[in-house]
Symmetry: C2
Subunit: 154 residues, 2 copies
DNA sequence: CTAACTGCAAACCTTTTGCATTGAC
DNA sequence: GTCAATGCAAAAGGTTTGCAGTTAG
């Protein structure tokens, strides 16, 4: 029952953007990305496919996509400095759990987050268009590592 | 029944920080602030009381307080560029609703947000220490302004 | 053909840092 | 007295911009 979703490229065309070689490249790259990429990572990945592509183009494209609501910008609690990360706008709101120790990022799903928008809308009249829910803390692995049972070997 | 909360200054002392004139000034300023201030606004406000205070001191102090969990850093969806905003860590999690049109920031309360942390903890094992819930969208006022009755009675 | 987009390089803006000096405890 | 915090100035880091040339529609 999942609505077959248009590709990012298609959605860009639908918005009337000029599909240059660079933009096609970036669209694929963002859609295929397994991790959250910052602008520089996007740039470097793009360069492996088109050595001529320029940083400014990457920044400009990311901004364009952001303004159109096709990608979301994340800060991930600034665990790695003040860069911004980008992800193709997901269908459902999800939360980012950022471990401040190891930098790991988890994205648990669940109905709470799905409810969030509609509740805000109902309770405040505010019309949410983009959502950024980020929690910084300690991931389960780091908690275990950090608390090696007060008196035990290694 | 509200627990009488220690002042920021007191909590800084409790953490063992050296209370310099500058830090006392900044602590008061942050606690009294009605709005979310960015580093530069904090700096300028501080300067009105102590013209000698240096930007670097402001940044360093804000970072110290952030690391100690006494203040939270916000991005407010970058409505006004990439500066960071600071607020004294509130007792309860609250969400920031940022109007992307007029820049207005609302902070609705409510039990949903209070639940958020404990649910994450329970459902994922992640231990949240700082929370940033920001939604960008359109505030009720801007919605009214933007939709001057397309053909309907309002 | 023309407006939109790109590459380039320089500028921008916020934040950080090394170092000598000052001041809190 | 000692070590942490400050002021200063310079640099860093990420991002933006003006301009001339290129390209999609």
């Amino acid at each position: 029952m999942s609505t077959p979703r248009a590709t990012l490229r298609e959605r860009m065309e639908a918005k009337g953007l000029r599909m240059t070689t660079q933009r096609r490249l970036l669209a694929n790259l963002l859609e295929e990305a397994e991790e959250h990429l910052d602008a520089d990572e996007v740039y470097r990945l793009a360069q492996t496919q088109d050595p001529q592509i320029h940083r400014a183009t990457v920044y400009r494209t990311l901004n364009t996509l952001k303004k159109l609501g096709l990608v979301d910008e994340l800060d991930l609690m600034h665990v790695n400095g003040d860069r911004h990360y980008y992800e193709v706008r997901p269908r459902k709101l999800h939360i980012h759990l950022v471990c401040m120790k190891c930098g790991d990022v988890q994205e648990p799903g669940g109905p709470v987050w799905d409810e969030l928008k509609s509740r805000v809308r109902k309770e405040t009249g505010f019309k949410p268009e983009m959502v950024r829910v980020e929690m910084g803390g300690e991931c389960p692995q780091c908690q275990r590592r950090a608390t090696p049972r007060a008196g035990e070997a290694s």
